[in-house]
Amino acid sequence: MQTVHADAKTPVDRLPEKAQDHLWFLENMDAVHRAIQSASDVEQMMSDVLDVVLSIFECDRALLTHPCDPATTSFRIPMRRTRPGFECPLASDVEYPATPDVLEVYRAVTSTEGPLRLGTDVPLPAQVKEDLQIQSALGMAIYPKVGKPYHFVVHQCTHVRQWTREEQRLFEEIGRRLADALTTLLMLRDLRRSELRLAEAERVTHVAYVEREVATGRVLTSEEGFRILGLPIDRQWTSLAEVLSRVHPSDRAMLSQRAAGAREGAYHDIQYRIIRPNGEVRFIHSRGDLVEDESGRPSRILGIIQDITDHKRAEYLTRQVFDSSPDGIAIVGTDFRYRRANPAYERTLHVPPDGAVGMHMAEVLGDALFETVAKPNLDRCFAGEEVQYANWVEVPFGRRYASVSYTPLRLDTERIEAALIVVSDLTEHMLAQDGLQKAQTELAHMARATTLAAIGSSIAHEVNQPLAAIVMSGNACRRWLDAEPPNLEEAREASRRIVNDGNRASEIVGRIRTLLQGGEPVKEPVELDELIRDTLALVQGELNRRKITAQTDLRATGKTIVGDRVQLQQVLVNLILNGADAMDLLPTEDRKLTIRSMTGADSNAVIEVEDTGVGFDAHDAARIFDAFYSTKSHGLGMGLPISRSIIEAHGGALWATANNGPGVTLHFTLPADSDS
């Protein structure tokens, strides 16, 4: 056996061989000990120990690979030390794939207690051997109590080496010590990480651990704890007195009384306010319990404090919303009994003064409304659906228009336990809207009546023509019959004219009556060109009277739109009379009105009414659609604004453009009947 290399400083040569070996062992272990003791962290310790190993065994490399696990897919080299000239080509902190022959080595070393001679007891992986130029190697698995085992290995590259039993024993012992050291340092590192995590958790949740010593009144807490209490953070502990000095004066007596109570063994769960140095008030929630010492005396109170200001603020806002919302808000359980109801809800539904909580919904809404509306909708809500409806409903105190929403509430579990009800009483709003609509209908009707009044004398003329003819023909007919002998041929002819003129009169009256109808707008298919021709017939008399030549260019043949015939006719009459008014001052031969119809983009209908009148300037153009704006001395100035609102209600648009020549063209579009 080759003699152990003894350190020069150790006079071992005079000792018996066994004692020499023992001394060598102890001295080297001492070096390892010192390396472990002096290291402050895991990396330093591994590095120092591997350096000592290199020097003890006078080998070329010392490595730790991790994990030393036959089932691993990869491994890392957390630490490696080499003699100059034998640098390890493998990097640390890189994951290397674990090849089958590497896993074979791991399997061998983990199934053996002590070290194994690699290349002798177990084959060295060929690739590793070649890459690292290894002649001999000694390796073992070491087991720290934290995490997976490490492979602790030394390489000899310069020559083939026989590892002595003493060397192997020393290597094994160093391995054990290394495992212990790794255990300690890794645990310490994990602990530090936990502490950091705790501090971080405390910081994020505004929760802190607090410990108060009963005997001394000392209060120990974390950085976050000091922060929560509004105290300087650069220290380890504070006192109950100091904490109390920060507490809101109104809460101070309560807190010191409870602190005394806690000393007697009561679990505490209290809230109090802290005033921070900048005057800010924070709400604190404190919970804790008494811990007794071995002799049963109260020793410490352990607990947590939490800054619940944000929560409180949210709760306050929620309560404010709940209490002062103009909408009725209530929570109803699956038994249809009220859990909560805000003042607006109770007011809206005329709940008796004792409040709705505990009452069944049917008692508040009445059986009919509950059974027909509330219950079916709530059943859907309890099945998970968000339900909303708005309608007139009959409640015990009358007929109201309510907008209601039911939202499923899952308080703690996935199971729906209640429904959130939001009710708005829109009765007044709806009545006002109804009134508005009625007023609008009436205004449109009035405008039509005004329009009719404007063309009234023309219409009277138109009706009077056939009436005059009827009277004359009637008289003539009677006289032809009374003649001796009766002239039957003339009488027949006269009676035929009576019938024709009667029909003609009734057509005219019919057109006027249509325009005078004041009823609700009716949506029906309207043939556009036919509507234009009817309307023109209605105003033809007026146009004649005003010496206006009207011409048409109707190219929307057969085109149908859906709308209110009367209102659309009103628009056409307005536009035609508007054009006629604009031409009053022109010489008779220049008064020309053109009405066109066509199919425009998106198959919309386009109607144009063009006059040759005085036109308008840019200022007027912006205002002609304003109510009560009129350039004329007569008229309400409502024609164009009402026309525009009618067209817009039909989904179309109405606008005016100045002509290239004299006059103005008014255009309007109507969306095509989607059914046709």
């Binding site: 004398s457 023309s458 009277a460 003329h461 138109e462 009077n464 023509q465 056939p466 009436l467 005059a468 003819a469 009827i470 009277v471 004359m472 023909s473 008289n475 003539a476 007919c477 006289r479 032809w480 003649a483 002239n487 003339e490 002819e493 006269a494 004219r497 024709n500 003129d501 003609r504 004649n544 009277r545 010496k547 008779t588």
Partner: protein, 203 residues
């Protein structure tokens, strides 16, 4: 009056035809026109007639017709009919010599009264006109000296005065005067004065 002719002018065919039928049913003759220009262009018969005229025509007014008729030297009474009469319109029509201004629809009596009145007036006017024409024809046979004597007799001058004025003797004037009365077919000074009145167009 049974042979009276009524000229209807109305642009409304129904009104035109019914008026024509009615007028014929009461035994009057009727011709109908759709515009005043048609009437002006037509040949008017020498019978007592009147016009039943609508006020409103496309592009023009029936109220302009009297002036046009007068220009053409035609005197004919007009009854206006209108679908929507206004007071200024009726005033203007009446000033222009309208017989009546009727608003449609009118009763048969209203129309008949107006038409008969118009025809009567036309007949009277025609009679007056023919008398005047006869008088003028007789007057045309007088010599210039006889006309001078006629004018002075009608003015109420005595023979002596006339003779002095014309520079002759009373006897000569007496002879002229006798010839004038003979030529004009009158027997007294009073008749002579009436003849003079007839001859002057009634203004």
């Amino acid at each position: 009056m049974a042979d009276g002719l009524v000229l209807v002018v109305d642009d409304d065919a129904s009104v035109r035809e019914s008026l024509k039928s009615f007028i014929r049913s009461v035994g009057l003759r009727c011709e109908a026109f759709s515009a005043p220009d048609e009437l002006l262009a037509s040949e008017l018969p020498e019978a007592s007639a009147c016009v039943v005229l609508d006020v409103e025509f496309p592009g023009r007014s029936g109220l302009d017709l009297p002036a046009q008729l007068q220009q053409a030297g035609i005197e004919i009474p007009i009854v206006y009919i209108t679908g929507h009469g206004t007071i200024p319109m009726s005033v203007r029509a009446m000033k222009a010599g309208a017989i009546e201004f009727l608003t449609k629809p009118f009763s048969e009596q209203e129309l008949l009264d107006a038409v008969m009145q118009a025809l009567e007036r036309d007949q009277t006017a025609r009679a007056t006109r023919s008398e005047r024409e006869a008088s003028l024809a007789r007057f045309a046979t007088l010599t210039p000296r006889e006309r001078e004597v006629f004018a002075r007799v009608v003015a109420g001058r005595m023979n002596k005065e006339i003779a002095a004025e014309l520079g002759t003797v009373e006897q000569t004037i007496k002879q002229h005067r006798g010839r004038v009365m003979h030529k004009l077919g009158v027997n007294s000074v009073a008749e002579l004065v009436r003849f003079a009145e007839r001859m002057t167009p009634s203004a």
